[in-house]
Symmetry: C2
Subunit: 353 residues, 2 copies
C-alpha cells in the first residue's frame, strides 16, 4: 500500500500519488476507543496509588482533574502510543495482554511532556495551562518524576505475565527507549543554541526524542503478544521510522497548523530557536532570518513555501512512513492486525493536531 | 550497643549515656574505600554509555569533570548508601554481588540531588556550583532524568545475577522506594507553604524523602547477598529508621553546622520556609519568628537552644538510630558484618557534614 499525503488537498504535493486511503482530516479511529479506555483505567489505578497531593497533580496533567483537583474530562491526548502497542499485540495474541505495558508507555510519554513543558517554558498544552504554570515549577518537576515512577511500576507488574525468560527483554527495551528519548531531548535543547543543524543531525535527535518511545510501543506490544524475537526487533525499527514521520508532521503543524485544532500557539518553537524540520530544510536551502519571515508567521510560511520546504517536509514524512510500512510487512503478524496498523500509520501522516 | 551522641561533647545531652563508640568527628571509615571505588567504576561505565553531551553533565554533577567537561576530582559525596548496601551484602554473601545495585542506588540519589537543587533553587552543593546553575535549567533537568534512566539500566543488568525467582523482588523494592522518595519530596515542597508542620508530619515526609532510599540500600544489599525474605524486610525497616536519623542530623547541621565543613550555605533552608526538624520542634514549643531569630542565624541558634531544641533533635536522631539497631539485631546477618553496620550507623549520627 501507499500512504496518504501528510498535507490536506491543496498543498503542492497532493495528488501526485494514487492513494488508497483518503486524505481528509481524521482522528484516531473510534474502533480503538475500548482499547484506550482499558489503558486509561489502568493509568487511573496507578495514579490512585499516590498517598500525597502528587496524585492530583498527575490527574491534572492527564486531564482527569481541574486545577482545584475536582474531577474533569479535558480532551485527552491522542494516546497514539498505547493504541499502536495494543494493535501490534493483537497481531500475535490478545490485546488485553498489553494493557499494562501500554499504560507504562503512556505514563512515560506523560512524564516527558511535564518535563518538556518546563524545559521549553511552554504555558499551554492541549489548550490547557501546563502543570508547572498551574502548580509551580518545583511540584510539577517532581510530579513528572512520579509519573515516570508509575511507568516503572506498571512495567514491573505487567512483566509478571510474561514468560520468565522474556522479562529481561521487556526491561531492556523499556530502559533503552527511555535513555534514547532523554538523549534526543538533550540534543533538542542543545540545538536551540546553534545557528544551524543538518537534516542528519535533526534525524538523529528525533530518532531519540520521538522515535525511541514509539519504537518501544510497537516492540513491547509484539513482545507481550508473544511475537518472535526477530519481529520484536523489526517492529521496533518500524516504530522509530514512524516516530520520524510523526515528528515531521508535528513540526509542519507548528508552522502550518491551525492553533484552534492543534491547541498550541503556532510559531513559539521557531521564536525559541527550536530546530524544527521546516527550519532545518529552509536553512539548508540558503534561507536566513534576514530573508524575511522572522517578523511574522505569515511571512515565514510564504518564504518557506517558496523554497519548497513544505513539500520537502511532506516527502520526508512520507519516506519515513514508507520505511515503517516496509518493516511492518517483513513481520509474521496476522494480516488483519497489519491492516489496522496501516490505518494507524496513515493517521500519523494525515493528522491535523 | 548504644550509639554515640549526634552532637560533639559540650552539647547539653552529651555524657548522659555510656557510649561504646567515641564521639569525635569522623568520616566514613577508609576500610570501605575499595567498595566505593568499585561502585564508582560501575557508575563511570554507565555514564560513559551516553552518546551525547548529557554524559558530561552527569560527570560534572558527580564531580568527575569541571564545567568545561575536563576531568576533575571534586570531593565526592559520602556514598553512604552504596557503602551501606555493600556492608549488608557482606553479611550474607560476597560484597561484589551488590556492586551493580549499589551503583543503581547511588545514581538514584544523584538524580534526586539534581532535581532537588532545581526545586529548591540551590546554587551550591559540596561547595560547587549546582548543575542547573552551570548548564541551565532545561539541560540540567534532563540530565537528572538521564541519571535515573542509568539507575534503571544498572538495576536491570544487576538483576541478571539474581536467581530468577528473586528478580521481581528487586524491581519491586527499587520502584517502591523511588515512588516513596518522590512522594516525600512532594510533601517537603508542599510544607514550605505551610505555617506549621507537626513532628508526625515531618516524620512521614522524611520516611519518604530520605528513608525510602536508605531503606532500599539495606534491603537490596541483603537481597543481592542472598538473605532470606524476612531479613530483607527487616533491613528495609532498619534503613528507613536510619534515614530518619540521617535527616535529623542533616537538619541540625543546617542550623549548627560549619559551612566550611558541610559545603552548604547555612540558614538557606530556613529562609525558604523548609520545615526542618529544629524548626518543627521549636514551633511545637511555641516559638514564632516574632520571638527572634528571623533576623540572624546566631539569634535563631540562641532562641532554639534556649527552648531545648538542639537536645530534642539529638534525642530524635538517637531514638531512630536505636530503632535501626534493634532491627539490625533481629536479623541472621553474620556478626562481623553487623559490627561494621553498627559503625556505619554511628557515623550517620556523628558526622559533621
Amino acid at each position: 500500500m501507499t500512504l496518504p499525503h501528510s498535507q490536506p488537498p491543496g498543498s503542492a504535493s497532493s495528488g501526485t500519488r494514487n492513494d488508497r486511503l483518503p486524505t481528509e482530516k481524521r482522528g484516531l479511529p473510534a474502533t480503538y476507543d475500548a482499547d484506550r479506555a482499558a489503558v486509561v483505567a489502568e493509568m487511573r489505578r496507578l495514579v490512585s496509588l499516590a498517598s500525597t497531593g502528587v496524585g492530583a497533580l498527575c490527574a491534572y496533567h492527564l486531564g482527569w482533574a481541574d486545577a482545584t483537583g475536582a474531577p474533569a474530562e479535558a480532551p485527552a491526548g491522542k494516546m497514539l502510543r498505547p493504541t499502536l502497542c495494543l494493535a501490534v499485540c493483537r497481531g500475535y495474541g490478545d490485546a488485553g495482554q498489553a494493557v499494562g505495558v501500554a499504560a507504562a508507555i503512556e505514563l512515560v510519554h506523560a512524564f516527558s511532556l511535564v518535563h518538556d513543558d518546563i524545559e521549553d517554558g511552554d504555558h499551554l498544552r492541549h489548550g490547557r495551562t501546563t502543570l508547572w504554570v498551574t502548580a509551580g515549577l518545583p511540584l510539577a518537576l517532581n510530579a513528572g518524576d512520579f509519573l515516570f515512577g508509575l511507568a516503572n511500576r506498571a512495567l514491573c507488574e505487567a512483566a509478571q505475565a510474561l514468560p520468565p525468560d522474556r522479562r529481561s527483554e521487556a526491561f531492556e527495551l523499556f530502559t533503552t527507549a527511555y535513555l534514547r528519548m532523554i538523549e534526543g531531548q538533550h540534543l533538542d535543547i542543545e540545538f536551540e543554541q546553534r545557528d544551524r543543524v543538518t537534516p542528519e543531525e535533526y534525524a538523529r535527535m528525533v530518532r531519540g526524542k520521538t522515535g525511541a518511545l514509539i519504537g518501544a510501543s510497537l516492540a513491547l506490544g509484539a513482545l507481550f503478544g508473544g511475537a518472535p524475537v526477530t519481529d520484536v526487533a523489526t517492529l521496533r525499527e518500524a516504530g522509530v521510522e514512524l516516530g520520524l514521520a510523526f515528528q515531521a508532521v508535528d513540526d509542519a503543524l507548528a508552522v502550518w497548523g491551525d492553533p484552534a485544532v492543534t491547541g498550541k500557539a503556532v510559531g513559539n518553537d521557531l521564536a525559541r530557536g527550536k530546530k524544527s524540520l521546516p527550519l532545518v530544510l529552509a536553512v539548508e536551502r540558503g534561507w536566513t532570518p534576514a530573508d524575511g519571515g522572522a517578523d511574522s508567521l505569515e511571512a515565514l510560511r510564504a518564504a518557506f513555501e517558496q523554497l519548497g520546504v513544505r513539500e520537502a517536509v511532506d516527502r520526508f514524512a512520507r519516506g519515513r512512513a514508507d520505511r515503517a510500512l516496509e518493516r511492518l510487512h517483513a513481520t509474521q503478524m496476522r494480516p488483519e492486525a497489519r491492516s489496522v496498523l496501516e490505518e494507524l500509520f496513515a493517521f500519523v501522516l494525515t493528522r491535523q493536531s
